[in-house]
């Protein structure tokens, strides 16, 4: 019995994380539409619920009840598993993300993470790299020129930007002497990493935008020139799985930015619980991503490659070099 009970906090935490992550895209789509609208001086969705708050729910019902269409020439099995393959990595990323210091509940210590891996950062970078398979499979299985072009672009983009992204966090790891995310946050007590690692943050931020396939690096889906890129042929629930994955990557990216460079849950006002303070920071980053999305145009393909290889990679190497010298 004792043995079974020891699993209880883990099961509860898993249920909460999965539930929240599955529901999170609803408010995020609303937020994204509102931000887009207000940047264009429109009010956005207004008619379903108060200020359109129930609009995502209506959209969800529409998407879930739509015909689940598979093109005749598509590879049916790959077509069916691609959305799931795209959805798993963002969920896996949240396994390693801590939400705060351990807290006391009913006399037992509960860690506010599913697993505080001691190679957490490495795990996150590795797992988020798998996410590209969903895109590749979707593009290939659709058997459509737009989809396959989108997935080809996405492969090149992912490979190009994973390298500077990985290099950019090395400075943070050097400062914390650990790859454990709780240790990295603890090392920022007093001074956030953004102060000592501005270049690292910049590279991580930009590479992260590219990894999340957000504007200005959204070439894989490029509504303008590729239809909708790799999910051109998807509709209904499979399409909504892609949307879900996209938003979860965005949230995970915001979490990583905060944990690695903005002190995680540290430094908040005393009356706020630390995890609320963390969520506020994450919310701010999500807002910034959406703000960027509706401000910038899309980069051209060669510009994308130039930024990745000729700007971000040298910058991240320089960052490692400078941090190394300063630490000696």
């Amino acid at each position: 019995m004792e043995y079974v009970l020891s699993f209880l906090p883990m099961i509860v935490k898993m249920a909460i994380v999965i539930g929240v992550l599955l529901l999170l895209p609803l408010p995020l789509t609303w937020l994204e539409r509102k931000i887009a609208a207000h940047i264009q001086q429109r009010p956005g969705p207004m008619r379903v619920g108060w200020h359109g708050l129930l609009q995502p729910l209506a959209d969800a019902i529409k998407l879930l009840t739509k015909e689940d269409h598979i093109p005749a020439e598509a590879d049916r099995m790959l077509f069916a598993i691609a959305p799931v393959v795209a959805l798993v990595p963002p969920f896996l990323v949240f396994v390693a993300i801590p939400f705060g210091d351990p807290i006391q509940v009913f006399g037992t210590t509960v860690t506010l993470s599913l697993a505080d891996l001691n190679v957490g950062l490495l795990f996150i970078l590795a797992v988020s790299g798998i996410g590209v398979f969903g895109t590749i499979l979707a593009g290939w299985a659709s058997n459509s020129k737009y989809a396959v072009l989108g997935s080809l672009r996405s492969i090149a983009q992912m490979i190009s930007y994973e390298i500077p992204m990985g290099f950019s966090v090395i400075g943070v790891v050097m400062l914390a002497n650990s790859m454990q995310l709780t240790q990295i946050v603890a090392a920022q007590q007093g001074l956030w990493n953004i102060v000592v690692q501005p270049i690292g943050f910049f590279v991580f931020f930009v590479a992260g935008l590219a990894e999340a396939q957000r504007i200005p690096f959204d070439l894989p889906e490029a509504e303008g020139d590729l239809g909708a890129g790799y999910h051109t042929e998807y509709s209904g629930i499979r399409f909504s799985l892609f949307m879900l994955a996209e938003y979860l990557v965005l949230v995970a990216l915001a979490f990583l930015n905060v944990l690695l460079f903005f002190g995680g849950w540290l430094g908040g006002p005393a009356f706020l619980p630390p995890f609320i303070w963390l969520f506020l920071k994450v919310g701010f980053f999500i807002w910034v991503f959406m703000w960027l999305r509706f401000t910038f145009p899309r980069y051209r393909y060669d510009q994308l490659m130039t930024i990745g290889w000729k700007v971000l990679l040298p910058l991240s190497l320089l960052n490692i070099l400078v941090s190394g010298f300063l630490m000696l």
Binding site: I35, A37, H38, I39, Q40, Q41, R42, P43, M46, R47, W291, L292, F294, T295, F296
Partner: protein, 190 residues
């Protein structure tokens, strides 16, 4: 909005993305500014300028009689033949219209009838919601024209209104003292 206030900042500006930051500042300004959309038909309705040519109305004199003398000039000048006037003589010996029909489905709201009228009778008002699901209601008669809304004292403003869900789905101006707001004042200019 062609100009964003970007100055040429040289290589320092390029390194620190002066152009991108200027773009972000611009969109942030827009994000925090008021929206310009009319909340029509739910909460607001645009009251057009007084020169607007909308739904017709018929002026009456102080005794409550229509001004129209049934001369037929309006139906003669009407380019789409949508006005039917049949005169009759009242007990006082005045010439008045027995029938004055306008087919709103044919009318092109040119305002020539208003120009031709010698008796200041037929006018075009500011009412523009004439949609209906029954075509026969688009033929308006003399009593409809007398009852139709006159020109409002203001124009070119957005006023509070409410969608008539139960009725004909038109947006009804809410009675009240609100003089409305000038829509153009919300346009953000640099």
């Amino acid at each position: 909005m062609a100009r964003t206030g970007v100055k040429r900042t040289g290589w320092i500006g390029r390194i620190f993305f002066a152009d991108l930051l200027a773009g972000l500042r611009l969109t942030l300004g827009y994000m925090l500014s008021k929206t310009v959309t009319h909340h029509y038909p739910d909460f607001e309705k645009w009251v057009p300028y007084q020169r607007h040519r909308g739904h017709h109305f018929m002026n009456t004199n102080e005794k409550g009689e229509v001004n129209c003398v049934a001369c037929g000039l309006c139906s003669t000048i009407c380019p789409c033949d949508c006005i039917t006037v049949i005169p009759f003589e009242t007990d006082d010996g005045d010439r008045r219209p027995k029938v004055f029909d306008i087919d709103l489905a044919r009318c092109l709201y040119c305002g020539l009838c208003e120009d031709a009228c010698p008796a200041d009778a037929i006018k075009l008002g500011q009412e523009y919601e004439v949609s209906t699901t029954d075509r026969s209601t688009l033929k308006v008669h003399l009593d409809d024209l007398i009852a139709a809304p006159r020109k409002s004292e203001t124009g070119g403003v957005v006023k509070p209104a409410k969608l008539d869900v139960a009725g004909n789905q038109h947006s009804i101006l809410q009675p009240g003292t609100s003089s409305g707001h000038d829509w153009w004042s919300r346009i953000r200019r640099q």
